[in-house]
Amino acid sequence: MITKQHLSVAVFGDVDSGKSTTCGHLVFKLGEVDQRKIDELKALAEKEGKSSFGFAYVMDRTKAERSRGITIDVTMLKFNTNKYNYTIIDTPGHKDFVKNMITGTAQADVGILIVTAEKGGFEAGFCQGGQTKEHVLLAYTLGLRQIIVCVNKMDDKLVNFSEERYENIKSEVSLYLQKIGFNLKNVQFIPISGYHGHNLTEKSDCMPWYKGNTVLEALDSVTPPVRPIEKDLRVPIQGIYKVDGIGIVVSGRVESGILQTNKSICFAPFEGKTKSKLEVRSIEAHHAKLSEGMPGDNIGFNVKNLEYKDISKGAVCGYVGERAPRECESFEAQVIVINHPGSIKKGYCPVVNVHQASVSCEFEEILRKIDRKTGASIEENPSFIKNGECALVKFRPKKAVCVETFANNAPLGRFIIRDMKVVVAIGIIKSVNYK
């Protein structure tokens, strides 16, 4: 049996855009909804004297249930089509979400941006900027290139499935996405109603002027992510365990390359005194033995000759040789300041979170202020940078860490800068000086 590829979808949108309703409706139509649950709700709806039983009722019920404290399982919105298995991330407004976007394991393969067509709603939400725009910008910076823009609430009384309104919004949003850097060839626009389900999984009769894809067709038409099998092995370490009768087991997610048994591996940075030959003895995932670990797999593996104190969380595993992971001396990165109360100057030394590592790094030199999109220099050697500005900065880690360039290995090349529990800036690594 061929397993279908998995795609993760991040859904962006303002509070009033109808984002959750649309997500819920997609899952309701395509997800593995428990039939017994549906029947149960149907009976309940009849008892309460509600004649029309449908998606809206289910949505309200589940939302009420969810807020009372729920099982963990239903927190993941999942559905399948003939082509892919999907996981939907309904992006929260929580400020810590930015951190999760960058250091979290779930990276979006495709984005859905939901804007409302409501008169005033669109103007108040999307045009005013704010969080949705910030999320879309961050997602682009992190490598998201494919996006589906849903113009929602086309059924609104004042909108009344108007093609003109749709086209107006389309041109506004296009302009913004283009400014961020999106290639409009990879952007699809769809007029929808998340509440009534127009153009979600089936073409709507109310908008005969629209000839394009439904949301479902649009999702199935995205280019799947390429698994970096060809690249050098890199496994950032999440945990180190002592297991009786087995020895030291390390766990992590394979980001690139293939981890195989009986090969010589190494870790960077390595705190052990003698570098005795380390070897992968066996690999497991969820208690099942694996012959190898592929990119995207969360695995645990048992390492011969490794001492518990040799490595810590945030070390990176790779094969021994010329292209082994290495500890860095310093690195240069493109940084966007998103939330700093004052100005950032040379010598600032906040915490940098990169893959599983968390290390204090000094702003050794602010080389130049640059245009976010074109990369062109705006000012050489600026004395400070502040909110909204983008700059090329040389960082010096205060503790040993292994990083790579974003172009070469994205998960090891993107980071956030934190200070006082807030994400101050985000960055991607342009070049690395190794020790």
Binding site: S67, T71, G239, Y241, G300
Partner: protein, 228 residues
Amino acid sequence: MTFSATDLTTLEKHLAAHTYLSGTDKPAKVDADIANELKEKKVTLNAATHPNVYAWFSFIGLFTPEAQKTWADVTPVHVPAATQAPKKEAKKETKSEEVDLFGDDDEEDAEAEALREKKRLEAVAAKEARDGKKKKAIAKTILVFNVKVFEAEQDLDVLAKKIYDTIQLEGLVWNKEHKKIPVAFGMFMLQMGCIVEDEKVNTDDIFEPIQSWEEEVQSVDIETMQKL
């Protein structure tokens, strides 16, 4: 404080500063009574002149009479508007900052921009008058995270109980249905879920205390963050 269905000005004034007539974060009997009185007398509410009464009235109408009957009979309290106003302003400030941050670069000519801005403001005003009530909704996030321990022998149920008991914050609700997820080689990690109010709880407020138990916990990582 007393209210009457005929004195819309007093109602409007009170509701501008409070979500409910009760003056607390919960609706009370007085909310139901006044709303029903308005309904019976068929008072026409104008969203432009009394936006807050309008929003409150539509919201109270969403509850069934049975639900309304359960509301407590309390004397409405009036907290002076001054204590609430700064909060609102602070919010606005951060918002305008964000606009600066990721707002459009000014490439278009000023005239078109000004016209668009005017249109936008008009539209926004209309929208705000229409559904002021949505602004009162509290944004919440579902958080699922993994707690990794050191050894296979550690009792994860005991650890989970310790976490539930120790970490209690305003705006945090535990799901109390933790799971044990196999890692490999007989090792398990503890997966837990909770719901947090965006304004009140930072993820670090939850994770830092857990990670400070260095004898028991080696790390905590977020599995998913999802809008509720």
